[in-house]
Amino acid sequence: MKNRLRTSLLFAVPAGILLSCLLCLLLSDAPLEAMKGFFFGPLKSIYNLGGMLNSAIPLLFGALASSIAIKSGNLNLGGEGQVYAGGFVATALALSLGDAGIPGVILCVGAGALVAGSAGALSGFAKMKWKTNEMISSFLLSCTIVLIVDRLITGPFMDRGSNLLTTAKVSRSMWLSYILLPSQLSSAIFIALAAAILMKLLLCRTRFGLKLRLTGQSYRFAVYSGIRTGFYTWFPMFLSGALYGTGGALAVFGTYHSCLKSFHSNMGWNGLAVALLAGADPVAAIPAAIFYAWIESGARIAMQSTTVSARIASVIQAAVFLLITCSVFDRRATARIEGGSR
């Protein structure tokens, strides 16, 4: 897995950069401006840099969530709903607590993580009991959650005084501090980095992590080894959902300060994408999340200064994924594949 990551990454990242240049050339009336904005825009000012790092936080949490699921042999496609649920539950609790300060933040984030984790655990439980495909069940559940939370935000929890479709803002004492003014980068980034290192330690240095990975790599072997595969089927899904929920809750306390409608947009899918980019490794997810956030920010900044559509970010990200996943570029993987049937 490590070799495949390095070789394909060697092709994919430069190809992505080349493709961005090509797209800027084709689609923009001022290609050089667009390219400058795309590559250097996020780094040009503290505001842009901080914004880019800030958008990497939910991506990192999403990547951690997806990595845990992937390592245990599951695929959690319910990220969108779990992020939304986590953020909403945290906001709702915070609004009822009032001025609760940092202990309140911890409580609310925990509550959000718990609820989001339960959503993931439901899929995991169905998989454990009835071999229900967790991809589909988590996806369907997520669609349902998104619609329900949408309704709760625009209905009973709506802040009538605001121009946006959002809940009321949480109390000032519960806002996470900005660490890089004038940008929006909040202290949640330290939590994200700590979580990444924690996850890596959990997966690679504990017995729990070993059993989890074994269950993912070879279910039958795990069963015969006496590992409680049932537990290691649903619990990683719970952790995955909890991590997504934490990302959502921290986005609320750090950036938005209220639960905006659809703030979760693409956080779930992008988290999964970053995890795939990082080869499901928690520590590799850190540069992967920053790279991904850089493409997104770059596209937005290029759009602001020239006529390039911000959608080129999607095209570039897609190309990078396609290249990363082609294991034909890795000689070892090819030898393994040609040795037997796929």
Binding site: R151, R220, A313, S314, V315, T325, S327, S341
Partner: protein, 279 residues
Amino acid sequence: MTYILSSVLVTICPLLLAAMGGLFSNIGGTLNIALEGLMLLGSFTGYLFCWYTGSLFLGLLCSSALTAAAAALLALIVFRLKAQPFIAGLALNLLFGGLCPILSGRLFGTEGVLSLNGIPAPSAALFSVLTAVMTALTLVILFMTPFGLRLRACGMNRDAVLCAGLSPERLEIRSWSVCGALCALAGSAVSLQLGSYVPGATSGKGWIALVIVFLGGNRPLGLAGAAMVFALAEALGNHLQGLWSIPAEYILALPYILTLTVLVIFSAVGRRRKSFKSA
């Protein structure tokens, strides 16, 4: 009652067409995750070509050909370059999610709703008939032709196909092309029935089609049944929304909840029938 029936027909056509496409890929052994992206491409190009050529038939034909080519390209990447099907499918969804708005912006100056003149309006029954025909054709092709037999063999036992002297990759690439063409029809059903291209009108339908493929048990009629369940739920929900004042979002969630319940029940019940299989 006729209102429910007509709305069921409108809902079921894109879902069932895309699900047939998914069936072609799934029966060959690898599920095509990119139904969503291919539907989007089909929706956009269907609208585009119908406007450009002024004829429904030519427009649908060109759109299907283009989407089939895109699906074939994806299949090439998955089967020849040994990409992971799931990631490649996600990447394609992402790609067309970005490409279509970009093209729309370059050609028409807007990334939003397109309401062009000169689009021939499809008759009310056109897509229903088309869907029925395609379902029947799928049944025939998959279960009564040599190609279908080989494709099904590919899904059951790749080595057997290799031993027979055939190339499983070629079979799969061909079946994915058919999948692309069907997804194009599904997408066009959405945009042409609406009369304008609405970005996001097809969002989610590709994933629902995947669920339908999963529930339908690799049989075209099973797929039709599953699609019917979903479409009925949606149509009933819309109807009930008017009758009782249930908030719109809860009605929209009803098909998802229903499908999830059906999925869980199916797996719980099905497990007793199936013999022990590796997890």
